[in-house]
Symmetry: D2
Subunit: 334 residues, 4 copies
């Protein structure tokens, strides 16, 4: 039985994680913390959720657990990671603190110095399908962002095939839970409802450097990318429509074969047959990433769907934990 702790349980990601770990047959939740509401129970905040007591992080005994999940805002996660590692506890960080290898990029995009640059080398970027070799030995895992997960899983095979002939365009649409649980004007029900809008399009969103770093894992000189997020008036789910200019006249059939090979045997990645397109109905409330391929005007159009809270956050964190501890990768996940 893996003993787990959760830091930051009352956001959407922390709650989703608590729900998954609660039903996971190989895990015991040793504690779940809340800075703002210690003493309450998780089911007070999420009435259908597990009836877990929330303790103040200062009361959490890091030495007693095998793994600590950090669902904290960036800059707060890194110090907690340092403390846990000191106690010999492994860490899965769901914040952005250890995703970017380059601390300069981090400070440029997040507006402050990196709080623990010495840990960046060892942190494993936990896009599970591509980090299975490093996870078993990892002490510290940087769980990927939601948009990067949907985009990188879609692009890896075509990048690896060296089939890209120009600027990639990722037009992504996300449900509102991606904006966090703190109430703000732009997440008020009346503002979101019946509306739809783009934000930070082009090359302005913090997930851009993470996506670019991901691409560079598989290509020394990856093509440029434009990334345009939009807000959907629904609670959850990300669908990215990605446009990849092709070189060398790759056909849809050849690309499909390539994708099928790349993801053969993957429990959570599914390539749809020709003529079908990814939808949020394929993936919401599951850890799946569903991909489709369409070629038109010498461009590969990928549609990639994930649940931002599951494969885009808590589900992938548990998938990574399963891999870290050498148990079946799919346990506790749908």
């Amino acid at each position: 039985m893996i003993k787990a702790g959760i830091f930051g349980t009352t956001g959407y990601t922390g709650f989703e994680l608590a729900k998954i770990l609660w039903r996971h047959p190989g895990v015991r939740i040793q504690f779940a913390t809340s800075q703002s509401q210690p003493g309450r129970r998780l089911s007070d905040l999420f009435p259908a959720g597990p009836d877990l007591p929330l303790i103040h992080p200062k009361e959490a005994s890091l030495a007693e657990i095998d793994v600590l999940f950090l669902c904290l805002p960036h800059a707060l996660a890194a110090p907690a990671a340092i403390e846990a590692l000191k106690e010999g506890t492994r860490v899965v960080d769901l914040s952005a603190d250890f995703r970017l290898k380059n601390p300069g990029l981090y400070s440029q995009w997040y507006g402050h110095e990196h709080p623990a640059p010495h840990l960046l080398v060892e942190a494993v970027y936990g896009l599970s399908e591509f980090s299975r070799e490093e996870l078993p030995a990892a002490r510290l895992v940087a769980n990927p962002g939601c948009y990067p997960t949907s985009i990188l899983l879609a692009l890896q095979p075509v990048l690896q095939a060296r089939a890209i002939g120009g600027t990639i365009i990722a037009d992504s649409k996300s449900g509102v839970s991606g904006a966090g649980r703190s109430p703000r004007q732009h997440t008020h029900f009346v503002e979101v409802s019946d509306n739809f809008y783009p934000y930070k399009i082009g090359r302005a969103h913090r997930h851009l450097p993470e996506i670019e770093q991901g691409l560079s894992l598989w290509h020394d000189d990856p093509p440029p990318i434009i990334f345009s997020p939009h807000l959907l008036p629904i609670p959850r789910g990300i669908l990215s429509t990605i446009y990849v200019p092709l070189k060398d006249n790759w056909s849809e059939t050849d690309l499909r074969i390539h994708y099928q090979e790349a993801y053969t045997g993957e429990p959570f990645v599914r390539i749809l047959p020709a003529g079908e397109l990814a939808t949020l109905a394929h993936v919401n409330h599951t850890n799946r990433c569903v991909l489709s391929l369409t070629v038109a005007a010498n461009t590969l159009i990928l549609t990639s769907a994930i649940d931002n809270l599951v494969k885009g956050a808590a589900g992938q964190a548990v998938q990574n934990m399963n891999l870290m501890f050498g148990i079946e990768e799919t346990i506790g996940l749908i």
Copy 2:
């Protein structure tokens, strides 16, 4: 041309009012204020809205206008009303400050002393259909609450007919704009979406004393009432389903005749034919109140639908203004 000012333009009620007045052929908006965002334009906050400059309330020249609309929180409206009246400006107050005639009730339900008890006698309760006689001479109009409007318009005829034989039950359902525009946890899109819930049911909501006062206008000893509001996961609209135990075996036909007579010629109240029920689709974005009557088990079941922001707030305020200034009651309204 009526010269109008608006205090508190950036909430949902203030914005709806600005939209209606902007298109009203007999009104010129002289100023629109915002405490928090002076210097911006209303269309910055509501992109499809009128392009009005927002000024700080201190810069508003009350003497220059004919009528001031107060879309302020309770306790803040009364002082502004006092100031306007001093300048000879008539006031339509959309807050709760002048609705309850009894200052003791006010302090009991709103938690503080009434800020201007001396004005309570003169304030006209502006349920337009029943205050046409007092409005032309009114200096100060208390615009009714949204729930009370939907319930009182439905109950007046059966109350006047002395047909009620027991406790009235008003089960009301409101869209989220009724909760105001300030972002709070319970108005976060993700919390509201796919959810539905009751709140302050029984005899616990602040609109209860206003409803009871309304009933007592038409009956010396009105029957007891239970009022149960619920939150609908939609932006706007109120539907109240009201259960009235009947005495003396009133039939649906007789009640219907009574209702039709009561509301003959009313431009904004519509009694549906037998077999039809009120829906939000009947009323949203209009100043209408649509009513249906059904009798079952010796109980009159009324359904009453209004748009909470129009007939339940800004629309009725304009209807009241039209009546105050002696112009056609329906001008500027749909």
Copy 3:
């Protein structure tokens, strides 16, 4: 391992049932039928659903299974039940065919003769919490309707306490999946969205006689009841707000004690503490019924929330199956 078959898998109830049975550790789905789309797979219709082949009902081998679930329209379920019982297969019928004990009532409300009146005596009305004694021996179970489940679970304790002093009013609100999956004008997205409306209020809905029959199980002369359903613009969930006039001055505290005793140890019924009210967030995607009690104006106000597709249909069917086969009642359910 219980071998189960499903008739009528492509409606919302059939699909929900397939999802629950698919994950149920004690069940093997032997077949799942579809009259209209045999040869396809369930995941073609519900992309996140189980990858089950759909066969034509004529190809289903009834003798091979232990239990047959009928998710068919009324009038079609009864003949299928007859056939299954002939083969010695037990039946859980999710249609209305065996709910009403009185075939005259059935033909009055459903517009045709009862297709199998000889089976009505033996059919067990499967409101699980109140049929545990009969279920182990039952050959044929009539799974309750969604509205009746939410209302009867709420009313049983106060009825049994003989505390009711007048007409009960059940004001219920349901998500759209309760209207079935066949596309019709009134379930078109644009018609439902941003709307809310009552339908068949008073004593006009087919679930009324089922509710009255349920009440008569616990009271020789049950009080009259008014039942008013409404359509919520969300996919799932029922919340019933129920008004019960009290006699003998029952207090909220005494009623609460009574309810807590009535449901002590019940895995799927929860009485909320004083001051809390039921919401759909308490129950959606679970088999729970959550109840609250409030007393005002000598009236007990109950709020009762269930997921119409789970406790109101497929979940309760599985709960009943667990009880029929003598396995743990909660297996496979949340």
Copy 4:
């Protein structure tokens, strides 16, 4: 007073048109037809709509009106147009029948011979901003499709500037009313709600040839275009995010100047200031098209928002009618 008739009033487009014409001070609706529901009133189907009687098209007297609006399915509109023109009545056709100049393209995309190829030359493609010269004399106007309107208005200035250096990508998202009012599985509330999906992406949607024809109006050899529509879980609105590879290092500032000049004085087209992006909240329930410009990675990213039922259909039809009859272009429109 322009005397207008409407053919096909009970779809979403026909209803929106009836609403606009009903309030238009210069128009009298002479008749409104419905093939399926003659004898009913429009307000029976759309309870907040105008109380217009619906007649059978056979009873419509075409000679009595000045203009006939066709809100019929393709193939049915053309014969009605022929008849009206015979009577000397001018026609605004909101179907696809007269949009494509090439009857071969029409039969390729619509699956049948063109029903009136002899009228194609004279039909004016009514993208109002670019057909003001032809509209006053036009007998027959082909009202543009909703997606083409959003895309062509966005692209005209950059196309005219000869600034495009590669394949254009239009990633469009539309509300459900664009799918029509006939109930079908994929417009069922439960299927759409909480979902989001692409359809007919690449070069597969019927609006593609119309978009390409539009581009060729302003460029002899227009660049290739990819067009990917998606379905938003909301009733109305289209937002197109359009990616235009630039040549010659056009800057955002230069492009912005170019756009502002192109649309100077246009009452219904608005170019947002730098840093702002188009949203549906800018345009829904108005006849506006709101555009934003962002340059990143040598690509112009346009966001273009319209209400699909107003500027994308009925509103533009009225704008065209105003221009045809020489009255103020903005009358009756917001």
